[in-house]
Amino acid sequence: MFARLPETGTKTILITIEGKRVTVRAGDSVAAALLAAGFDHCRTTPISGAPRAPYCMMGVCFDCLVTIDGIGNRQSCLVQVREGMSVELQRGKRDPVA
């Protein structure tokens, strides 16, 4: 769906998305990494359960929420990927205890 600009570098790191090891580009936001890896949504809404994908990519719309290293409702467009990071899709409401 998305093509890389040639000047974005080639260094890669490994993270886990939905329990699977995925190679992503260093420097990417988690939202960009999810889109590049082919995910067409990153969360489902708390009320109706409708799927949502990153929209604004600049911290405003809150549609890119995911669970990162066990903490829910993180804005994935504002977090850079890190070696070993674990990312889960945000399914409905955040678990307040996890």
Partner: protein
């Protein structure tokens, strides 16, 4: 929208389209009255859009025992009221009555709470209240995740809560379905009584009605004086913190913390001077948040998404004012702090009295503004 008819246009003009005015309007139209509902616009300072949505019994009535009985009556009618709205409009207003708690963070707070309840129970004529002091063990069983500093609290099985924004919407939908004339942006500027009817002048037009009901929150004071009524008000400000939506963890409303049906957590127990809803005193929010985290430590991990101020509708002594004018028969005033809790009474009990043209002294006589009259020296 239908054309306004000539002659006396309506049986009753209700002034104020918030929770009080719209609940009364629904009860009036259900009683067969032709109702016009006059409201301000979207920018109005409106407690119906800034409240904590508790349907709350415990603590009510210290100083006026009849208020406890009136509150319990509404709490007991709320299920029927909500079911009626659901069947008329399809809107589920999220009413639940799982019982509510008041939490104490020290032995001193718990003792004060117990003394307060004792004073309440010791009043002559008080109805059975069912509120009891509960120990920490009991709290742990009902409120998983309470913090180590919570020593105990009080519990009342009659306490509940709802989604008050949806309640406001459901009431207006029901009024629309029943062809009540709703006139927004019609702030009332003058009310005149002559020859058995009321002329009500708004910012846009004048209309006539056989009866008039003032349900305009803190503005009721000014309007009531136009028809020989008295409604002394003393508004104040409260602040609310709202968290992100999370999975249900709180099965009971706490007087200062509740989880909404949609998952957000509302925190609020402030009482400040002032009547500007555009003001926020941040240090007060810090204290509210700190106390909430001591009650439920996991709240400290949640993101806050909003914080806002609301202006409380408050009569001078905190109790409802329900009154009818002696000099202008057919004029009523209805204002109170607890527009959510008392909505069931307003629709099911008070509105039929107004439709009949007379408040029932046995049920609501205690709420007349005559209580504010200074007693003449004997």
């Amino acid at each position: 929208m239908t054309q306004l008819a000539g002659k006396t246009d309506f049986d009753v003009a209700v002034i104020g389209g918030g929770l009080v005015g719209s609940a009364l309007s629904l009860g009036l139209v259900r009683s067969g009255q032709r109702v016009v509902l006059l409201d301000e616009g979207d920018a109005a300072v409106r407690a119906s859009r800034a409240n904590f949505a508790l349907v709350w019994v415990q603590s009510k009535g210290l100083g006026l025992p009849e208020y406890a009985g009136w509150t319990i009556r509404s709490s007991d009618s709320w299920g029927e009221f909500a079911a009626g709205l659901k069947s008329e409009t399809g809107h589920d207003v999220g009413f639940e009555r799982p019982g509510g708690f008041h939490l104490a963070l020290s032995e001193t707070e718990l003792e004060n709470r117990a003394l307060q309840l004792k004073r309440l129970h010791n009043q002559p004529g008080i109805v059975s209240y069912k509120t009891e002091i509960v120990d920490r063990k009991r709290l742990e069983a009902n409120l998983p995740g309470i913090g180590p500093e919570v020593v105990g609290g009080s519990y009342c099985p009659l306490d509940g809560h709802c989604n008050s924004l949806r309640l406001h919407r459901a009431l207006h939908t029901a009024l629309f379905n029943r062809d009540v004339q709703y006139l927004p942006s019609h702030r009332v500027e003058a009310i005149a009584y002559a020859a058995g009817e009321f002329k009500v002048r708004t910012t846009h037009r004048e209309l006539r009605a056989g009866k008039v009901v003032i349900a305009a929150g803190n503005a009721s004071m000014k309007l009531a004086s136009m028809v020989g009524l008295d409604a002394p008000m003393k508004p104040n400000r409260g602040q609310i913190i709202v968290t992100e939506r999370v999975q249900r963890f709180l099965g009971h409303p706490i007087v200062t913390i509740r989880q909404t049906d949609e998952g957000t957590v509302m925190i609020g127990d402030s009482l400040l001077d002032g009547t500007s809803p555009n003001e926020i005193t941040m240090p007060v929010n810090s204290v509210m948040a700190a106390r909430a985290i001591r009650m439920f430590p996991m709240l400290g991990r949640l993101n806050v998404v909003r914080t806002w101020s609301g202006i409380r509708v408050m009569t001078r002594d905190g109790f409802p004012i329900y009154d009818q004018s002696e000099t202008c028969p057919g004029a009523f005033v209805v204002c109170c702090h607890s527009g959510v809790t008392l909505a069931a009474n307003h629709a099911l009990t008070l509105a039929p009295m107004i439709a009949r043209g007379r408040l029932d002294a046995e049920l609501v006589g205690a709420f007349s503004a005559r209580r504010f009259d200074v007693c003449q020296a004997a």
